[in-house]
Each structure stands twice: as structure tokens, then as C-alpha cells.
């Protein structure tokens, strides 16, 4: 049964629409909620009983209740009718995290209580006096890749909660970029492409210590801050400012499985940006950089997200 409705619904919803999308009355659906069915049953029973016992007062009261609930259907319909989904902005994120979706929705100024549903997440929003409201979603980014935002649902149970009114909106080409997950314990950045093995030593001698951080596999033993480590019980390593030195991350030189490789590259790209080092990423089909800064980092991460699945 659900499948039949599903198929019919797919047909009705049809192609994705370009933003802004205005909700049309022909695509509004209404069904009673559990409470609605309860009231309906109660009203029917009371109408029959009051007709039987010729109690006009009870009949009138029941009919007022029933009409109020029918009116609530219309009110719910009017709340959603003409609502405009103005814009959607998706903030990319790493797999395993949550990505955020921000929507701007214009409603009638009096229309309250609209909820946006994506997947199993619900979000209600407040509107300003012009009827413009911003909805922020935080959705789990389960798997790396480029994804299309699924169709979303605007729903309301206003004003009496006796019926659910809803509509589906399938916005056209809202791409969700999910970057590879970051490694828990990131490995050290690959060394400078010039191959100067003494760089770290030089750095250690020449640079000031910037900070201490927890030990990660691949850290040089010389970097370990023994005193601090002994004091606190965890192993710390000294970190030095490394303003110069371009990190070159090469796809082929990492000896891991496909997705793990992507993860490592992503971790390095993030790390390098944090340290302010210029990076160059060499992927099988393209090469990025050298460059630095957030913009470059995002470009690299996007490229990683766009990598095809391992076949």
C-alpha cells in the first residue's frame, strides 16, 4: 500500500524545481493525526447519540467541535499555501560529522508552527515580521562524496494538531559535499618535496617552540618534550613554527586503502592549512596547488569529495 502511494507521490512531485519554490495548493496534502481520528470518532458517536436521544444541545456542541476541526484543516492548508523556499545553503563537512543546511523560507507573517523535515530530522523556525524565517539543520554526514540534497518536507499541525498538512519540495541541484573523514590520530605531514632531511633539525634549532601537542605516530623522538611528558604522564612533542616549506601530498606515495588514503590526504590538507604551510596535492586525475589558505584547503577537500568510489 505504502509503495503504491509512494509511486503515485513520486509521479506527482515530478522533477526537481529551481529555487525559489513556492508551495502550490495542488501539492498540499492533509491527513488527520491520531488525535484527529479520535475526535472524528467521538463526534460521530456523539452525533448519533444526540440524534437518537433528540438532544439538540449536545448535537449543536458536537457539530461546533466537528466544524472547528474541519476549519483547522483549512487553516493548516492556508498556513502552508504560498510558502516560498527562497534559498538553501549547504555547509560542507567531513564524513562522520554533521553538515549544516541553512534555508530561508518566506511565509505569511501570521503563519506559525511550520516544521521542515529532512530525513528524520525536524526543525521548527521563527519568522520575523515580514514572514521570513531561517532554518538551520544539522544532518549526519555519513559517507564521503557528492550528494544531492533529498527532497524536503514542509509540514505543520497547526492550529489544533488534529491534522498534519505537508508538502514535498525537491529543490534542484543542491549538492552536498562531504569531505573524507579526518584521521583520529593524524600522521605527520610529508616532508618537503626538496627532500631536505635536516629540515626538522634546522627548524628545531632555529625556530621558537610554538606549542606542545600530544605524540602522534611518526613524530621524531627528538621532538618529544621529555620533561613535560614526565610531569603530566602523556607524551608531548614540541611543535615548531614552520612558515616555509611546501608540503607535497602525493596520492601514489601513500600506501593505504582507497578511502583511508583519501582520509589521510584530507587530514594533511587540514593540518597544513592550520600550520599555514603551502601544499600541493597530486591526485590520480588532477593536481592542485601549490597554494595555501582556507580557499585552497576547501578546493583540495572538494576535489577529494569528488573522487569516484573505489571500484
Amino acid at each position: 500500500m505504502n509503495n503504491i502511494i509512494q509511486r503515485w507521490l513520486e509521479k506527482r512531485i515530478g522533477a526537481p524545481q529551481r529555487l525559489p519554490v513556492t508551495v502550490n495548493r495542488k501539492r498540499l496534502y492533509t491527513l488527520p493525526t491520531g488525535a484527529g481520528w479520535l475526535l472524528l470518532t467521538l463526534s460521530l458517536a456523539c452525533v448519533i447519540a444526540s440524534l437518537n436521544y433528540t438532544s439538540n444541545e449536545a448535537l449543536l456542541v458536537t457539530l461546533i467541535l466537528a466544524s472547528a476541526s474541519i476549519l483547522s484543516l483549512i487553516m493548516g492548508h492556508r498556513i502552508l499555501n504560498g510558502v516560498t523556499l527562497q534559498s538553501i545553503h549547504v555547509e560542507p563537512s567531513h564524513a562522520g560529522d554533521n553538515f549544516t543546511v541553512e534555508m530561508e523560507i518566506k511565509t505569511k507573517a501570521w503563519a506559525k508552527g511550520i516544521m521542515v523535515v529532512i530525513g528524520n530530522s525536524h526543525a521548527a523556525f521563527d519568522v520575523d515580521k515580514n514572514g521570513v524565517g531561517k532554518v538551520r539543520f544539522s544532518l549526519p554526514a555519513s559517507q564521503r562524496g557528492l550528494w544531492v540534497l533529498p527532497r524536503l518536507c514542509l509540514t505543520t499541525r497547526q492550529p489544533l494538531g488534529l491534522a498534519t498538512t505537508w508538502t514535498w519540495i525537491f529543490p534542484q541541484n543542491i549538492i552536498v559535499k562531504i569531505w573524507p573523514a579526518l584521521e583520529r590520530e593524524p600522521a605527520l605531514l610529508p616532508q618537503i618535496s626538496t627532500g631536505n632531511k635536516h629540515h626538522i633539525n634546522n627548524a628545531m634549532q632555529n625556530q621558537d617552540i610554538r606549542s606542545l601537542r600530544a605524540y602522534r605516530p611518526g613524530d621524531s623522538i627528538r621532538q618529544i618534550a621529555w620533561k613535560q611528558s614526565a610531569r603530566s604522564g602523556t607524551t608531548f612533542v614540541r611543535e615548531y613554527d614552520r612558515p616555509t616549506g611546501e608540503a607535497v601530498i602525493e596520492w601514489d606515495k601513500i600506501n593505504l586503502s582507497y578511502e583511508e588514503k583519501l582520509s589521510r590526504i584530507a587530514t594533511w590538507v587540514v593540518e597544513a592549512e592550520r600550520c599555514g604551510r603551502p601544499t600541493k596535492v597530486i591526485l590520480p586525475n588532477r593536481q592542485l596547488g601549490p597554494g595555501k589558505g582556507i580557499k585552497h584547503r576547501n578546493e583540495c577537500l572538494d576535489a577529494l569529495a569528488e573522487m569516484p568510489n573505489d571500484q
Partner: protein, 674 residues
């Protein structure tokens, strides 16, 4: 976009085509619960009186404990469940032990228990909703059971409360924590109910009524009605009863003053104490004859215990399905179906100021109307004989008696009780009485003088509404007068009470001291009158009248089934029209189907899906092309590949914008071929 795309969620969220409600457990606070419990407590008020005492006490204790647990301790589910179990056990006890003495008490107990049980178990917004709706049940049961001012007021309080609770629940569901006061929600609820009232009224007046109940007995709250007996000298309680006997609607000017005599049973038999009708006289005559202006009117009769229908002097016709006119001009209901117990509306016509055209009195009838019990009232009989001998005609005799009444008797609503010779005592000893005494003694005096006479009981006067088109006649307008047979004139109405007082203390224009209630009592009486007129007495009969008035110019009467169908259709049409008007207010989006290119592409994908049913719903162009390559023949696949490439370009390259339409057309023309 050179790389592949997936859909984040392949199918619609969830598996239902409608949105699943979100979990709402965290929204339930003790404050919300308090509102729900308060609502439940109010809703139980109207039936509290009808509940078995043990149950009431138990429920009160139970609720207090729950309140304590809910607000001061963290109650575990098991405790709540144990209360639920106790409640179920109590329901079983109520059902099987006969704690509830009647079915009605049982129904009340069930409603109360279910409400109490539900309040123990508030864990989600849904529960709050259920409580809001269930809280209406007790007052509705109460209204069905007995509608009076009190239950009316209670339901006026409870229904907005539960509606505002529903609105409130809706707001907490969507996290609208605007800290609105209860008054805000009451205002919204009031608005909703006001909007609902017109729709409800349409449904109310158009919903076909049952002619007879589907099950059970009819409610009998019938008033005493007009009595077939009268014992002047005993205490009569009708005089103090302000309840409505009937209403009469006129299309022509209202009869006023002495015209407004509503006939009831005609009493001819006297045993010295009690007047009664003569059973042998009750024979149908069809319709009476009379002169004078014919006035047609409708009588809206309250339920009563007697089959008599009050009719204006002189009744000419009555709708045959409602009743018939007897020989003595009493009007009785069609007693075959026993419908007189119900409130109903009856079409009638009468000749006001008319005169009965029956010119000859059959011998046996004459004897009946001259009969006096032997051995009673010797003084009165002697007095009558002397007076008759002293007068030249019967008319003069009546005048003389009138002057005796005027000078000797006084009107009082609380006359002394009378002994054996009641007429003697009244005329010569106590000299105090009201209509029953006067008419009774007058008829005795007439009969003693050889003039056929009888007593007519009924009502006189009534309250006239502001529009002066209908009368409200209450039980306290009950009256008794007499009719005298004059040779050549026929039966003539003579009201002996009129000899004694110019105007009865019960003034036909509504200046009755008993009714002259001002302030709250007056208002409440006015409300209950208006209510009874427009809602309370609306039944299948008045609905038919309403339909006839609404849809036809004059007195075409509908066949019952036809009118019922008509009512259903009419009501439904009106309802739908209203519904459509509201639905159609709103923007019309011409671009309902979205982008034509997208549309064409999706159609092409649908065509491909017929061959490859596993093709995902929101597949990308490249992926679709790949699939097509595998299943279609070379030419078709190549075409598709080309189209999908162009489609991708069109979607992502602005330069391509101008060719969208042609591309959409090309995609639309493509057909998959194996």
C-alpha cells in the same frame, strides 16, 4: 561536475508518504502536565454528582497522589503502570459488582476513569492531545442526558478550554516558546469556535433528524399539559409553572386580548367535585365550520402527556397527519402513533371572532350539557331558578349572573378549599376563587336554569414577542372558561372570570408579576426562551417546516424522504461551497511542473526505468547513460548518451541557456529501444 553524484537519501525520508512525527517526550514538562490535569479536573465537574461516591473518593485520592508524584518526585514508569492497573481493576469492579446503579452511572464512571487513567500517562504531546479531546466527553454525555442551563454553562467553559489546550499543545510541539498567557490561547480558541459556528449551524439545521429513536426510549420530560379533569376547590399547581407549554407563529396579525383563547379539552361531566370529558363524545368530525376571518398559524408544542393540541377559537382545520378536530371543537393528536409525547410543530387554522355554524344541538348532547349531579349545591340551583324566572331571555339571565359575580366575588390565586357543595360555598360563603371556580359555578348555574353549558379548559393569552409574530404560552396561562348554547346562536364563549376581574392577573401582554423578572433571572429566562425557540425544540417536524420555509414559497409539503434527501444535499452543497471558497484563496502557481528541461529529462528517465526497473529515482545523467549503454541497442544508447551530456552541460553551463527548450524537446522525443 565531472565526477559522479549520488543521492544522499535514495528514497523519501522514512517509509511513509507523510512526515513522521518527531519524538516529543522532551517537551513534556510538569507545567504542561499541570494544565492537562487541571483541564481533566474541570471536565469531570459536570458528572461528579452522578458518580458513585466510592469511585469519586478513590479518584480524588488517586489524582492527588499522581499530582504529588508528578511534581515532587521522579516517578518511574512502573509506578504509573501500577496506577493504571488499579484503575483497570476498578473498572472491572464497577462493571461487575453493580457499584453503578444504572447504565447512565456506568457510562459516567467509565468516562471519568478513562480520563483519570490517561492523565497518569502523559509522556508525549500526543497524550496531551488525547486528554484535551477526552475532556469534552463528560460534558457531552451530560448534555445528551439532560440539557439545562447548568450543563450548558459548563460546556461553554469546557469546550473553549480544551480547544485552547489543543492550540497550546500545538505550540509546544513546534517549540514556540513565546511565553503566551492562557488568555492568549483562550482568545484563539474563541476565534476558532466563532468561525466554526456558522458551519455548525448549517449542519445543525440541515442534518436530518430521526423520526423515532434507533434504540432506547425517548426522553420524556413532558409537562403536565392540559388536564382532562378539573376539580375547582382543590389546589392547582399549574398557576405557578412558568415553563413553556407551546409557541404559536402567525403570518397574519396576532390575535389579541379576548381573541387569544387557546382551546383544550372540553369538560361536560360533573360529579359535584370534578369536571371531566365525556368519552362517548370523542368522535372525529374532520373539520369544523365557522365564520369570521380564518387565520393560519403554527403551533410548536412542547412535549406533554395529553394528546390535546391547543387551538385558537374556533379551529377550522389541522394538517391531517398531525391530528383531528373533535365534535366539541377540541383538537387532539393523531393518537395512533403516540407522537404527542414529543415536541412538534403543527399547522392549523382557526376562525378568530368566529361563530360556530353548528346550529342544532342533538338531543343526547343537550342532555349531557344539562346534567347536574343530584343532591349537590341546592342553594345555587334555587338561586339560578329564581334568577331565570326573573329574566326575559337567556341573555338577560347571563347578564344578571354577571352582575352578581361582579359585585360579590373576588379573584384570588389562593382561594380557600371548598367542601361538599362547592358551588354553594363559593357563591355565598367564601366568595373567592379563580377561573376554575368561576367557570365551574357559572356552568352549574346555567345548567340549573336549563341552558346547555360546558367548561372549556386551555390557555388564555401569552407573551408576544417584539416582532409581534408569535406567542409564547406558558403553563401559568392555563385558563378555564365556559360555553353556553343559545338557541339560534350556537355555542357561545362566555368567560365568567371576566365578570370578576377586568383583566386576569396574568396579563396576556406579558406583564405577569410572576414573569416580571429583571436582571439575571430575566436574562436567563430570555436566553432559555430564545434557545428553546431556535435550537432546543428543533426536531424532524420543525426541520420540515424550516425546509418548506427555506425552499418553497408557500405551503408545498415535501414527502419525508424527499425532504431528507433534499436537506442532506442542500447542507452538503452549502458546506462544500464554503470549503471551496476558503481553499481557493491563495496563490496559483502556473509553473507547477517546474523546469521543462528537468521535466523532459525525468520523463526520459521514467521511460528508461520501464526497461530497467532498478534505475534509482534521482540518478545522475552520466550514470543513466552508462546504464542505457548496457541495456539498449547501440543507436538508442548513443542518442541517450549525447542527450545526457548536453543535459549536463545545460544544467551547469550558463552559455547553454538559450538552447534549453530545443534540448527539452529533443529529450522528450527520445525513446529507449533495445
Amino acid at each position: 561536475m565531472t565526477s559522479k553524484e549520488n543521492t544522499l537519501y535514495e528514497t523519501v525520508p522514512g517509509s511513509t508518504p507523510w512526515p513522521k512525527p518527531k519524538s516529543t517526550a522532551h517537551l513534556i514538562t510538569s507545567g504542561n502536565k499541570k494544565y492537562a490535569i487541571a483541564l481533566m479536573a474541570i471536565s469531570l465537574l459536570p458528572i461528579l454528582n452522578a458518580l458513585p461516591t466510592g469511585l469519586t473518593i478513590w479518584m480524588t485520592v488517586n489524582c492527588l497522589i499522581i499530582l504529588l508524584l508528578a511534581n515532587f518526585f521522579k516517578i518511574s514508569r512502573s509506578i504509573r503502570m501500577s496506577f493504571a492497573v488499579t484503575s483497570s481493576i476498578l473498572i472491572a469492579i464497577v462493571s461487575f459488582s453493580g457499584l453503578a446503579s444504572s447504565m447512565q452511572e456506568m457510562a459516567y464512571s467509565y468516562a471519568a476513569l478513562m480520563l483519570c487513567m490517561k492523565t497518569m500517562e502523559i509522556t508525549s504531546v500526543r497524550d496531551l492531545r488525547v486528554i484535551s479531546i477526552m475532556s469534552i466527553i463528560p460534558s457531552l454525555i451530560c448534555l445528551i442526558d439532560e440539557a439545562n442551563m447548568l450543563t450548558g454553562i459548563i460546556s461553554i467553559i469546557i469546550i473553549p478550554s480544551s480547544i485552547s489546550m489543543l492550540i497550546f499543545v500545538c505550540d509546544i510541539e513546534t517549540d514556540q516558546r513565546n511565553n503566551a498567557k492562557p488568555s492568549y490561547y483562550f482568545k484563539k480558541a474563541g476565534k476558532t469556535l466563532l468561525l466554526a459556528t456558522p458551519l455548525a449551524l448549517i449542519a445543525f439545521y440541515f442534518l436530518p433528524r430521526l423520526d423515532s429513536p434507533l434504540w432506547g426510549h425517548e426522553k420524556t420530560t413532558a409537562g403536565t399539559g392540559m388536564s382532562e379533569t378539573m376539580s375547582p376547590g382543590n389546589y392547582d399547581k399549574l398557576f405557578n409553572d412558568p415553563s413553556v407549554a407551546f409557541r404559536a407563529i402567525f403570518r397574519t396579525p396576532l390575535p389579541v386580548g379576548f381573541q387569544a383563547y387557546w382551546r383544550g379539552p372540553v369538560l361536560t361531566k360533573y360529579n359535584g367535585e370534578t369536571w371531566s370529558t365525556t368519552p362517548s363524545f370523542i368522535e372525529a368530525k374532520g373539520s369544523a365550520e365557522g365564520t369570521g376571518t380564518a387565520t393560519s398559524y403554527k403551533i410548536m408544542l412542547e412535549p406533554q402527556k395529553q394528546p390535546y393540541i391547543p387551538a385558537l377559537d374556533i379551529p377550522l382545520s389541522i394538517s391531517p397527519r398531525a391530528g383531528l378536530i373533535l365534535n366539541n371543537l377540541s383538537v387532539v393528536s393523531n393518537t395512533t402513533n403516540g407522537q404527542w409525547r414529543k415536541a412538534r410543530t403543527i399547522d392549523m387554522s382557526s376562525a378568530i371572532e368566529g361563530r360556530n355554524t353548528i346550529k342544532d344541538l342533538p338531543e343526547e348532547e343537550k342532555i349531557l350539557n344539562l346534567e347536574l349531579p343530584a343532591g349537590y349545591n341546592p342553594r345555587a340551583i334555587e338561586f339560578a331558578r329564581q334568577l331565570r324566572q326573573a329574566s326575559n331571555s337567556e341573555e338577560e339571565y347571563v347578564t344578571k349572573i354577571a352582575s352578581y359575580y361582579r359585585s360579590n366575588l373576588t379573584y384570588t390565586l389562593e382561594p380557600p378549599l371548598l367542601g361538599k357543595d362547592r358551588v354553594d360555598e363559593l357563591l355565598f360563603v367564601t366568595k373567592q376563587g379563580f377561573c376554575e371556580h368561576f367557570s365551574s359555578s357559572f356552568v352549574v348555574l346555567m345548567r340549573a336554569a336549563g341552558v346547555p353549558a360546558r367548561i372549556v379548559t386551555g390557555y388564555q393569552g401569552g407573551e408576544i414577542n417584539e416582532n409581534r409574530d408569535f406567542y409564547t404560552v406558558r403553563q401559568l396561562y392555563a385558563h378555564a372558561w365556559s360555553e353556553v348554547w343559545f338557541e339560534g346562536k350556537g355555542w357561545t364563549r362566555i368567560d365568567p372570570t371576566g365578570f370578576v376581574v377586568e383583566q386576569r392577573p396574568i396579563d396576556p401582554l406579558g406583564n405577569n408579576p410572576l414573569l416580571k423578572a429583571t436582571g439575571l433571572i430575566g436574562l436567563s429566562r430570555w436566553i432559555s426562551d430564545a434557545w428553546g425557540k431556535s435550537v432546543g425544540n428543533f426536531n424532524s417536524e420543525s426541520q420540515r417546516y424550516f425546509a418548506e420555509k427555506l425552499f418553497t414559497a408557500e405551503t408545498i409539503s415535501f414527502s419525508p424522504i424527499f425532504y431528507k434527501i433534499f436537506m442532506i444535499l442542500g447542507g452538503a452543497t452549502l458546506f462544500l461551497i464554503g470549503f471551496m471558497i476558503v481553499l481557493n484563496i491563495g496563490p496559483r502557481n502556473k509553473k507547477l511542473r517546474g523546469d521543462p528541461l528537468e521535466e523532459a529529462w525525468h520523463k526520459a528517465c521514467d521511460r528508461l526505468r520501464k526497461i530497467v526497473p532498478t534505475l534509482p529515482l534521482h540518478i545522475t545523467a552520466q550514470a543513466a547513460a552508462k546504464v542505457a549503454e548496457q541495456v539498449l541497442n547501440n543507436q538508442s544508447a548513443q542518442e541517450f548518451n549525447e542527450l545526457s551530456r548536453k543535459y549536463s552541460q545545460a544544467q551547469y553551463e550558463i552559455a547553454y541557456a538559450s538552447n534549453r527548450k530545443t534540448l527539452a524537446y529533443a529529450i522528450g522525443k527520445w525513446r529507449p529501444k533495445r
